[in-house]
Symmetry: C2
Subunit: 219 residues, 2 copies
Amino acid sequence: MKKLYGIGTGPGDKELLTLKAVKTIKEASVIFAPNNKGKNIALDTAEDYLHNKKVVLIDFPMGKVEKEDYIKAAEIIYNEIPEGECGAFLTIGDPMVYSTFIYIVEELENIKIDVEIVSGIPSFVASAARTKTPLTVKGDTFILCDEFKEELLNYADSICILKTLKNKENILNTFENNDFKYNYIKRCTWNEEKVLSERKDIIKDSDYISLILGRKTSK
Amino acid sequence: MKKLYGIGTGPGDKELLTLKAVKTIKEASVIFAPNNKGKNIALDTAEDYLHNKKVVLIDFPMGKVEKEDYIKAAEIIYNEIPEGECGAFLTIGDPMVYSTFIYIVEELENIKIDVEIVSGIPSFVASAARTKTPLTVKGDTFILCDEFKEELLNYADSICILKTLKNKENILNTFENNDFKYNYIKRCTWNEEKVLSERKDIIKDSDYISLILGRKTSK
């Protein structure tokens, strides 16, 4: 049987790789990553362990990706892994959090590739550390989303919103009306990392790889 | 100045330590951990790097812990770290997720100890990997809590509930009525790890170090 490890490489800091990620990447016969047509953070994070490794970049169409695209990706992976050996699919953050890899798992299992997930540090966890914002203390609820709804603040003690590009101003207004303090963290743990807490700076910024982390001020 | 690293050791698997956790533990002059009066998972996970290290266990009273207890803990930490050196406080999972460490951070900063957080893999992230349950795909909301409320299911695509000891039956009923599939994961990544998906097995079990991870079946 062929085996594929879905490996979370964490937020981007090479030191936030887990020992298991390093070991598994070293052991893999072939490395896969989505073809980002530019900077590839997952590959960059793991670069120290990729010498002389075969790296296969998998193309996904721009815009809406269809089931057939995932089937095709699974087939490429199947064909590239030699019988009885294993491959490693690298994904930024954690494979179970807003990743392309999730969609491929089912297709891989359908064609009898054994899949094991190696967790990585998600960006929202790294951002909480960076800003010393608790995600939860006893009795708390934490919410993670990429589409903000005001009602969520009725339940959240801390909340993290990814991909806030379009409606940052609305999010900040709602936070302020509901007594949530906030930080905007872009490219967490990268050299280019920036933490913004001033409303005007946050609204001005337009980095896709960013998130807003809010916490009830009564907390 | 003295510095303390708050280090997440992850769910318990030694291989899920990050490279940064290992490096920071090795460099620390003194290691701190809460005194659990028994098995100490954070220390066990890091044991390979603790040879000849001074380890200070910090007592917290049973039941309700008061602000003075955290002030006292911060003072112990201050006194144990030699001037200009650094210490490491080990905490299972991630320091910003349901940890005692969160309460100490403020007290440490009040007495001018520099604090840096080193993220760890939280148990809910490891459990998602173990059961191949997506926490979020595009458009999804994920909720983490330790006190379950039925209304949360109106907003969650995936939900993780910690410390479910008392009301597992109620949680499972609510999940079933709302078309959530679920797994109960105890001691994730430990040798004693168990994943239960049968209602009767879950209700029978009474392990404190466990969680329930649910996901909408339409997903």
